[in-house]
């Protein structure tokens, strides 16, 4: 073997090893997990204001991690629009990560406006709990600017806020590291404590991006059990909605609180089972919730319309 043959053969063998490792461990899994291929926006026309919200009744949808603008995001958005036809809802709780692969201000039309056009045109309201992909984890100036752009574009009042729809109070939190553990975290936690204490509605629902309980890829968020959970338990929160892990999970009630992960807005990651897990499935989905009086019925729906999970909660006594 001469020098050229040795060099070319060595490059070939080394290249084969490097390529095999890179493709098998990095490239193909990313292609299989991400939602990179652009999708076509749902072409659905919906009857505006078709929902009914009263003091006794409200319907809403919850979806997280849907910010790709790809085919899978479009498929979930189309199913949401189809579900609106039969079971109209006037609110969508966005559980964070509404923009991947770029800046939200630049990608607003691709990741939000186009997939949600039928619902936006029908007058559905959107409320956002910001996620880690919506801004940088540690809130640099650039990250804060992006958060502000998102809040402005979506008409959301702030990083954490409270809204009321029918018999339910919604508490949206900034669950990023500085939001919960940083220097200014006490502001948000004290605000949450006060707002939950003053809430007299029948249902208390907390929405945030990072899940307090999860058996998914990221798992339960460390530290929430010491910082956040005591407040939720003390004020008898009924339901906690989260995203971050790209799957659907529901826990058994923990101190009376049901924790749901609804993060299958555009991509999926594997999910396991833990002691607290009631249902777990790695699938694209969104959550539809009907509240009528003292009963809350949640349904997790796949893009093909099949149901992942249905659960019913009863309002706490005395409310």
């Amino acid at each position: 073997m001469n020098r050229r043959e040795f060099l070319a053969a060595g490059l070939g063998v080394a290249g084969t090893a490097a390529a095999g490792f890179t493709l098998a461990r990095g490239v193909w899994p990313v292609l299989a997990e991400e939602d990179l291929v652009p999708g076509e926006a749902p072409d659905v026309r919906l009857r505006p204001q078709a929902w009914e919200t009263t003091d006794e009744r409200v319907s809403f949808a919850a979806i997280g991690d849907n910010g790709s603008g790809g085919r899978q995001a479009m498929a979930v958005a189309e199913r949401m629009a189809e579900t609106y036809r039969s079971r109209p809802f006037g609110l969508v709780a966005l559980l964070g990560d509404i923009c991947y692969y770029g800046n939200f201000a630049d990608r607003y039309h691709d990741v939000f406006r186009r997939p949600m056009t039928p619902l936006i045109d029908a007058g559905v309201q959107f409320e956002l709990a910001i996620g880690n992909h919506d801004a940088e984890l540690h809130h640099s100036d650039e990250g804060l600017a992006q958060i502000e752009a998102e809040l402005r574009l979506l008409g959301t009042p702030g990083r954490y806020y409270r809204t009321t729809h029918g018999p339910a109070d919604f508490f949206y939190l900034d669950s990023s590291t500085p939001g919960v553990f940083g220097d200014a975290a006490s502001d948000q936690l004290e605000w949450l404590d006060d707002e939950l204490a003053s809430s007299t509605n029948q249902w208390k629902i907390v929405a945030l991006h990072h899940p307090p309980y999860s058996s998914g890829h990221h798992g339960s968020t460390p530290g929430f059990d010491e910082v956040l959970e005591p407040i939720l338990t003390r004020h008898h929160v009924d339901l906690v909605l989260a995203g971050h892990d790209h799957d659907y999970e529901r826990t058994h009630p923990i101190d009376g609180i049901t924790y749901v992960v609804s993060g299958g807005g555009c991509k999926t990651t594997p999910v396991g089972h833990s002691d607290f897990t009631a249902v777990a499935d790695s699938t694209l989905q969104f959550l539809h919730v009907d509240i009528v009086g003292d009963r809350l019925v949640g349904t997790s729906i796949r893009p093909d319309g099949s149901v992942v999970d249905t659960f019913t909660l009863r309002a706490r006594e005395g409310r």
Partner: protein, 271 residues
């Protein structure tokens, strides 16, 4: 040099008279049956790209088993090329399949990859069969093919990932204008195929022995980097380095005219 009464290897003849070798091999262009041409026991002195009549293609007769092995290996290589092109589409399709999306989502990119991959498999198979007829050594074919396959596998998947992952606004804009994404997908894969083919042919050409510069100076036979550096050093006046960098060979390469034949030796004086 006298050849009367002796079996002269073709490479010796080609070395002595390149124009004669070219004439001899022109009758058996690559793609035809090499056994139809003149055959000797010698390995060819040089192989040229397929279709180039200037290459010496004589090689020993292969056994039936060897020919079967060549066919099988070429077919396996073509299948590997097909798989490398198809793999990223299958990965995307797998995510769609796992996500329970009904309909045709993901099938269009698979179909595009099947078309591109099948086309490339045919080209790769033909290239391999052609190189088997002309290669000085079999190992050159496999080394070049391995390099081409690595480039194909990497570029077919990485190009898609990079373009779709790093330029989402651009391809979303393409999709918004109604241009099917499958066109972008197929285009990326064609680029990957072109890169792989170029790599395979370049490496094969690089590995094959080329005619010495003073014997053949046709288009396609370029001086080595060392020779070019020597020429540059000579032009810059670094005369000490020039000979070490092959300047003298470069000078020979630049003047391909054969040296005048020596006058026949005076036999009477020797006697």
């Amino acid at each position: 040099m006298s050849t009367e009464g002796a079996t002269t290897p073709l490479e010796a003849e080609a070395g002595a008279r390149p124009e004669a070798a070219a004439r001899a091999t022109a009758a058996t262009p690559c793609g035809g049956d090499p056994r139809a041409g003149a055959r000797t026991a010698a390995r060819p002195a040089a192989a040229t790209p397929c279709g180039d009549a200037g290459g010496a293609v004589a090689r020993p007769r292969r056994s039936t088993a060897q020919r079967v092995v060549d066919h099988v290996v070429a077919a396996v290589y073509a299948v590997a090329c097909f798989g490398a092109v198809l793999a990223p589409a299958l990965a995307v399709r797998w995510s769609v399949f796992r996500s329970d999306i009904n309909g045709v989502a993901g099938r269009d990119v698979v179909a595009a990859s099947v078309v591109v991959g099948a086309g490339h498999a045919a080209v790769a198979w033909a290239r391999l069969r052609c190189e088997e007829r002309t290669a000085a050594r079999r190992s050159h074919i496999w080394i070049a093919s391995l390099n081409a396959l690595v480039v194909l596998a990497l570029s077919a998947s990485l190009l898609v990932l990079v373009v779709l992952g790093l330029f989402p606004d651009e391809h979303a804009a393409i999709a918004n204008r109604g241009l099917p994404v499958v066109v972008l997908w197929a285009g990326l894969q064609l680029v990957a195929v072109a890169l792989a083919e170029a790599t395979g042919r370049l490496v094969f050409w690089w590995l094959e022995p080329h005619p010495a510069p003073h014997r053949a100076c046709r288009w396609g036979v370029l001086p080595s980097v060392r020779q070019l550096a020597g020429g540059l050093a000579a032009r810059l006046g670094v005369r000490r380095l020039a000979p070490r960098l092959g300047f003298r060979r470069l000078m020979v390469w630049r003047s391909p005219a054969p040296a005048p034949a020596r006058p026949p030796a005076d036999r009477t004086r020797q006697l």
